[in-house]
Symmetry: C2
Subunit: 321 residues, 2 copies
């Protein structure tokens, strides 16, 4: 069996091989640039771990993992265009570097390349993998649309936000795990359990991400906190605060969403603390994590096989705040 | 057997059924809008005709045809963003109507929906269809990149332009036919012949399109001529004129590419006529058409089965100029 970091190393060794041909150079310089930036490769490793939860890793799992990572990179390139983001992983985004048109096409061709890898999977699995992948890919697009819709709304409910995060973030983690499980020969019930594990893990991760952006230690978090607050971004914290703050705090919060005082971050954090949003978020994260682990617990394989996924969950979610 | 127009009607009856769910409404309003605009549905009908060239139409051919039409519509939505085109088929483009971000996502989700339909095809065919479709889809993106690259170059050769048109336009027609042929049970040689028929037909069609934009009768052509000239668009005509004009005409042509006199169209057309570009283009179109029909001739089925494809070629290419 392999740990997350072992699989991550192995995956990167294979994945760094060139995905695309040389020509047209203006297109494939953009795709190569983005794939070389790197990333944690969480999704492909989830696919490999999903396979190894049930059975030795099969060659098909590497193809599926590659498809998932390419799909994920496609979404990042297009999301960055939509968000007009100048940087990703500390370097210029594809559209900043190569222009929006080439970035658009680079994303397109990367998605097609994802399907290219899926077509490599043994035909015995394709009838299970393709519908799951297609449904998930559609959901990720739907999540991105909802995220954009929410930008212009002040009255997003927690349920709506949860639904958006599920689509935009969690379903791809869940899909990666289930695709691995399918290739590993898992039965329907076990597939559902690992899917659900991935879904809940994704939600826990997003709560933590929102929490750290507000309350994290900048040194440990690796970036300045308060970015979401300055961008008026909908987060678990903001949505809960708007729903639970006193009338006075809610008014201050809404005023702050429409203004940019120098101490905006400090003022918003003070309101968050007034409502106990910080403690609520930590508890919510724990709830999602507990649900995730409970699903993993129910998977009908020897407990020892679950150790790498438990360790991954701990690594992703329990990191120090 | 069915004619082009019979298949076109049948396809539209099936295709007009809703492709997408209701929510998120901001996303699926955009996809529904574009699919309802219509279009000639040439590519899906080529797929159906490709099937019926060999065998009665099978249900799988309808799924493949739907996938091809969705893929084609995806490329139109994204191309329109890249070209900043305000209109398509006489109505506002998706990005003009719904904004660039939603148009980008609408294209993405339409491509995924194309793969959704491909996943409906019997698994017996998927190992042939998916690699062909993926290769073609990649080539279409490459063609679009080359088309953009050519915009800023004055020295595009005829071979380079031909290569770009093949990728951007012809391969999808060829792929549609071959996918149908595969489903119709065609052998490898027959598949190659129908593919080549589609490829040459696409080139003939593009030569004609370029010709009509310059020399067509506006009443019969359905739109004002000279659009390509005003946009300085690379066409078969411009490229050939730059290569064959006298030194004086070439200089005038290059000057006209960098200026916009009121009589620009008339001046460029005069140069085209000086070089005999009009006659050259008609001859080139005929060459491609002859090659296309020669490929069709060699397909090893009864001649009578080829009648609908011959009629389609005549309809597409021999229309009055």
């Amino acid at each position: 069996m392999h740990s997350f970091s072992e699989f991550s190393t192995l995956f990167n060794e294979r994945f760094s091989a060139k995905q695309f041909p040389e020509q047209p150079a203006n297109l494939y310089r953009a795709t190569d640039y983005f794939l070389q930036i790197g990333g944690k490769r969480i999704r492909p490793v989830l696919c490999l771990l999903g396979n190894e939860l049930f059975e030795e890793v099969r060659p098909d799992a590497w193809s599926a993992a590659t498809a998932i990572e390419l799909f994920h990179n496609f979404t990042l390139i297009h999301d960055d265009i939509m968000d007009k983001a100048p940087l990703r992983r500390g370097v210029p985004t594809v559209h900043s570097h190569f222009g929006e048109n080439t970035a658009l096409l680079a994303g397109d061709v990367m998605m097609i390349q994802a399907y290219h890898w899926l077509s490599h999977v043994s035909s015995a699995y394709q009838s299970s993998l393709l519908p799951l992948f297609n449904r998930t890919a559609t959901e990720v697009c739907e999540g991105q649309q909802l995220d954009m819709d929410f930008e212009t709304r002040d009255n997003v409910s927690l349920d709506e936000y949860l639904h958006m995060i599920k689509l935009k973030t969690s379903v791809l983690l869940a899909c990666a795990l289930q695709m691995g499980a399918i290739i590993g020969g898992a039965g329907q019930r076990n597939q559902e359990l690992v899917y659900s594990f991935g879904l809940q893990l994704g939600l826990a991760f997003q709560v933590q991400d929102d929490y750290l952006d507000a309350f994290g230690d900048p040194e440990k978090f690796g970036k300045q906190t308060g970015g979401d607050i300055l961008a008026n971004k909908k987060t678990f914290l903001l949505i809960h605060a708007l729903q639970t703050a006193t009338a006075a705090d809610k008014k201050r919060l809404l005023d702050l969403l429409n203004s940019n005082p120098a101490d905006k971050v400090a003022q918003v954090l003070a309101i968050y603390k007034n409502c106990g949003v910080d403690q609520w978020a930590l508890a919510l994260k724990q709830q999602f994590l507990d649900k995730a682990l409970d699903n993993l617990e129910q998977v009908a394989v020897l407990s020892a096989r679950k150790a790498p996924l438990k360790a991954l969950a701990a690594y992703l979610i329990q990191r120090e705040v």
